[in-house]
């Protein structure tokens, strides 16, 4: 494979929006996606006819896909994508949309992601999550991701010497960030003592290692830099992106993600070093997976994330600002919108529009995604390096 990757120069992301999260909603994913479009329209003045591409992610849209949504919401795009990649959906949506805009297949792409959270919706989603989960994972205790991540965490701790306190430090820092973020569902401070004494959910995972399922929506637009400037919208440049699926199939248990395959590509395309990144938004459905991202994206060596955590401060203003809005652990996990949370926050930070704590001199930042525990491991990984205008 010798084809050189094209840069995303001239394509930008704008208008990060969040439809405020709530714990349970009787509304549908259609409703939440529609609210995200309305928020995008309010932020930019663009109407349905002005947006000629859509990229949709949602778990709860069944029996519809993005196709049914066009009629439901009155869209008539010339470019449409549906990305069922859970926590990797945001970055993947961004890179798909960027290429569409770059090639002229679409002029403005609305990337939206949402899920509702009916009472019992989480169980229903797990029951029919994937065929391999259904056949070979869900029958074993039906713990859902808690069970899978408990096993990964157990193996990670034994292999690399991570301690609960290390995970706790990540969670406590994110809560600190979340206290300043208006959309976070978690409003109370979290201490390490509280973290350590929480009830076990699936050892070694305890209560504060888990996200809270909720309802919510996220969105942003991808367009040319020219259009963004003409509309006077703050924008982020896309320095590079990667995605990878089903990496390292030979690993008996997941201690690394697909980022490790592509990280050199990520940094060389972006033309920056990890040390230049002013923030990292990881996909944090459990803190162990954030640690893996520290390693596999190149912020530290494999197996050194526990030390990396011990050596850094992770709050905004610290030595390594991480999940600056509080991440899913403190904001909540709105289904597939959880795959957008880090990206919309990254776009706000890089454009200087943080709703909570703003990272200073924010010229380069990294957003990563991780998704879809198909059986014993997460299959999708993605990352993007964003740069300020």
């Amino acid at each position: 494979m010798t084809v050189k990757r094209m840069s995303y120069e001239g394509v930008v992301a704008v208008a990060p929006v969040t439809v405020p999260y709530i714990r349970y909603s009787h509304q549908t994913a259609h409703w939440w996606l529609g609210k995200a479009l309305k928020a995008l329209s309010d932020a930019t003045g663009l109407r349905s006819a002005d947006i000629d591409g859509y990229c949709v992610s949602s778990f709860d849209l069944f029996p519809d896909t993005a196709v049914g949504l066009t009629q439901h919401l009155g869209l008539s795009p010339r470019w449409l994508d549906h990305i069922p990649m859970g926590g990797a959906s945001g970055v993947v949506g961004l890179r798909r949309a960027a290429r569409a805009v770059q090639s002229g297949d679409a002029e403005v792409v609305g990337c939206i992601s949402a899920d509702s959270n009916h009472v019992d919706a989480f169980r229903n989603m797990l029951t029919a999550f994937s065929r391999f989960s259904q056949d070979a994972s869900f029958p074993y205790g039906s713990g859902g991701p808690n069970g899978n991540f408990a096993l990964l965490t157990d193996a990670y701790m034994k292999t690399y010497g991570a301690k609960r306190e290390d995970f706790g430090k990540i969670c406590v820092a994110q809560r600190e960030n979340a206290l300043k973020f208006p959309h976070a569902l978690m409003k109370k401070p979290l201490t390490l003592d509280q973290y350590m004494s929480a009830r076990p959910i699936a050892e070694p995972i305890h209560l504060f290692d888990c996200v809270m399922p909720c309802a919510g929506a996220e969105g942003f637009l991808v367009m040319s830099e020219e259009n963004a400037k003409a509309m006077n919208l703050p924008y982020a440049n896309i320095l590079s992106t990667i995605e990878r699926h089903n990496a390292f199939t030979e690993d008996p248990i997941q201690l690394r993600g697909g980022w490790a395959v592509d990280k050199d590509d990520l940094w060389s395309m972006a033309g920056v070093q990890p040390s230049q990144a002013k923030f990292l938004q990881t996909y944090d459905d459990y803190p162990v997976i954030s640690m893996m991202q520290f390693e596999d994206l190149g912020f530290c060596e494999k197996g050194e994330a526990p030390d990396f955590v011990r050596d850094n401060t992770l709050e905004v203003g610290g030595s390594f600002p991480h999940n600056t809005s509080g991440g899913q652990l403190s904001v909540g996990q709105a289904g597939a919108a959880g795959g957008y949370l880090g990206l919309t926050e990254g776009l706000r930070q890089i454009t200087g529009q943080a709703l909570g704590a703003q990272v200073e001199n924010c010229d380069v930042g990294v957003v990563a995604g991780f998704g879809m525990i198909n059986f014993d491991r997460g299959l999708c990984s993605a990352a993007a390096v964003l740069g300020s205008a």
Partner: protein
Amino acid sequence: MAKPLSPPKAKNPLLRTRVPANPPGLRSRAATGFSARAAEGILALQYCSACNAVSYPARDICANCWSDDLEWREIDSAGEILASTTLQSSTNVYFRERMPWRIGTIKLAVGAIVLAHLHVDVNTGDTVRVIARTDKSGQGVLMALPTKETPNMADDKAMRELTCDPKYRRVLVTDVRTETGQALTKALLAAGAKKVFLGVADDWKPFPGKAELESLENTEFVPLNVTLDGSVLEASKSIGAKVDILINTAQYVRPGSVMSRNGTVTAKDEMEVNYFGLHRLLQHFGPIMRSRAADGDNSAVAWVNMFSIYALSNWPAYGTASASQAAAYSLAQNARADFMGSGIKLINVLHGPLDDEWHQPLSPPKLTGNKMSGSIVAALQQGIELTFVGDIANDFKDRWREDPGVLERELAHNTHID
């Protein structure tokens, strides 16, 4: 170490009997292939015939070479626990009621990575023996056990969910006139059954062995004639709510093919016992057992049928008997569906000719009551839903699975009919 089971206390009559909940029972068609083998206690994974790669979870296409020629092969049960966890919460009611629950990631010796339930005596890093069984949903699952017997091993909570061990349970043997029925009674008591109800039809008709049965502790005679609806109904009213395991030993077999016989009376007698007997038992005992399938340690767990292997393909020397067995076997398949959702295991024990007066002129091998009862108790202890007893049944099974059409013709051509 597994906590030794203590004899269940009498049920508190003020408490509602718990309604059965089940572990997730949804499976793909390919994974159902795993379940079908697990039901026989066979640990099998898919192997690609083209490239020999092992597949797990079950696939439709080989992930290594994209061949669709995947075949199930029995595998080495050895494995190593790479990671384990104790679930304290679950989205599923069945597991929620049984928390905490241990699961682990296992690397099998054949290379596949699997999730499995864990026996209390195994931990991360241990070498284990992995078994495949059906769970309360009727679908196949894996469980990791210690490689060597540990104290009270069978009493482990997760293990007992997969098995139907007679220990501390109450069992109805529907017909104890037979040698199998009598041997079974003794074997069940030896296996720790709390009580064995002894079904006797026409108790005015004496039978050999009765005096010995009368001398056994923890037994109770129950008038039960499976050919009479009223008798089965009365028995179900009197003991139905106490039966945790029902083993139908009532069989009526007479030599003869259809054209060697005059009329239908004998064939009807065979149907009355073999088919309608099962039918009546299922109608009167089945619903009661189904409602008691989650009643704690006292719960109903298993229904055992004995079928002649000739239920699968007709042996003309016992032609009408084979036909009635085939009908009954088919009814058992119906019953499996009716029991589905309750967690009660339907166990079919397929056997060759028994060593009784109706097979007296046949040459060996023939099955003694002890052999039959040993196999039945083992199936219960291991939680196996389908078992073939003896050389004839196993040979027949292999031939039947290989090519039922050939077997049918072999039986038609090679059977001498008097």
